[in-house]
Amino acid sequence: MKSLDPRVNRLPQTDGANTTPKVPLDQFGTFEVFVQPKAGKPFQHEGIVHAPNLEMAYVLAKEAFTRRFTCVSIFVAETRNIHISVLTEGDDDAYNHVVESAPNGEKTSFEIFHLFKRGKQHQHMGAVEATNPNEALWVASKQLKTEKQVFNIWTIRTSDIRFTNQDDMDLWLTLPEKKFRDAASYKGGDKLKTFLEASKN
């Protein structure tokens, strides 16, 4: 009987011509995923998912980035909706490069994220009211900047973010019990040690 396993049935067919035309890439856009590991902790940037829209991005982000460890909430935003400041080095603070920006139009809410260490993740600092992303950074320099040096600042319109609804807070209820998804919990070293000791006798 023909195998039922798609891993076998889906192997590329090699009979017939030697070559087939290379098809152009047909890919979805990218969305940025932010994770809150524990209640009271800030959301931090965790990575990127491909998706056809914001809602699908949310659904796919949940398993792509919160299969392990702990999580209480996530949010996602389309990459093109993230406005980023300059990236600085040494003791140069990214806010040194933020210039005063005048309001133009309706005020709206923007979420602000700080990068405190190069190579680490951006952390959510809070929200400011502004009329555009440039002004949002200027307002953030007055309201959210602390003593701690910042290497890069992101801002996202609050309305561009797909947040976790109150009803969906229990999505991560059983996550802390899923230790089996963490390679370390398999304790391969211990198993090997036991096996080697048993083989000596």
Partner: protein, 251 residues
């Protein structure tokens, strides 16, 4: 409380979760996109986890240990609905099955969270977040593809029409319906089926898919009494391959 009735309920639920969990895990590494591959695999793992919780409950009621129950029975000793054992074929079918089955699964566990059989009520309450994600995932995909392109709509439509008779087989009546309802263990397959039809209708109405009239569909029963298709035994053989080499091995 009627132990035989509880056991019958637990076996069919656990077998459904195990068989579909295994079937869906066959997509691991072959999902239509990386993120979906991960999500679908995680949900398959959740289902196997639910089966373990239910087999453990059966073990507490005097049945054999979970591994023995899962890995040593033959196809005719399984109580899963035929729907769960059908081969995956194309992703559109797996997705429609995921939607139809998980809608029923989430409703069943929600009903059981009020069960008078306390261990079952506890497990049902505990996994509510997982099931919420499963239905959110299924609904989002079906809404997306059910209104996207001509191809996606016609593929889902065909799969839907193929799947519905088997989906109705989930609600095959148990010989213990009266006892389960009287003892307030479970409100019964009939009540579940009605709730499920309503949910399915609501979701399909948000797409360009057409739901056939319920009266026109002949449910495919038999799975609950061990009458399966030729697809179940090869699945069981593959699933238990490693276990049968050395049942005492720890891995």
């Amino acid at each position: 409380m009627n132990q035989e009735a509880i056991k019958e309920l637990l076996y069919k639920m656990a077998d459904d979760q195990l068989i579909l969990g295994h079937r869906n895990s066959e997509w691991t590494g072959f999902g239509p996109l990386l993120e979906e591959d991960i999500a679908f695999s995680s949900m398959a793992q959740d289902k196997v986890g639910h089966s373990l919780a239910l087999y453990t409950m059966l073990n507490d009621l005097g049945e054999q240990d979970p591994d023995t129950i899962a890995f040593t029975r033959n196809a005719d000793q399984f109580h899963n609905s035929i729907f769960t054992e059908l081969p995956n074929a194309e992703y559109d079918f797996s997705l429609i099955r995921h939607f139809l089955y998980d809608t029923a699964e989430a409703l069943r566990f929600e009903m059981l969270s009020h069960s008078s059989f306390e261990p079952l009520a506890q497990v049902a309450t505990k996994v509510r977040g997982e099931l919420r994600y499963h239905t959110m995932h299924a609904n989002t995909w079906v809404k997306q593809l059910g209104a996207a392109t001509e191809e996606s709509i016609s593929r889902l439509q065909q799969s839907l029409e193929y799947a519905l008779p088997f989906a109705l087989g989930i609600f095959e009546l148990s010989p213990f319906e009266k006892e389960l309802i009287a003892d307030r263990i479970f409100e019964g397959e009939k009540a579940l089926e009605e709730k499920w039809k309503k949910k399915v209708e609501d979701l399909i109405a948000q797409t360009q898919l057409q739901l056939p009239k319920w009266e026109s569909i002949s449910p495919q029963y038999g799975g609950r009494t061990g009458k399966h298709t030729e697809h179940l035994q090869p699945l069981l053989d593959e699933m238990s391959e490693v276990f049968k080499i050395d049942p005492t091995a720890e891995w």
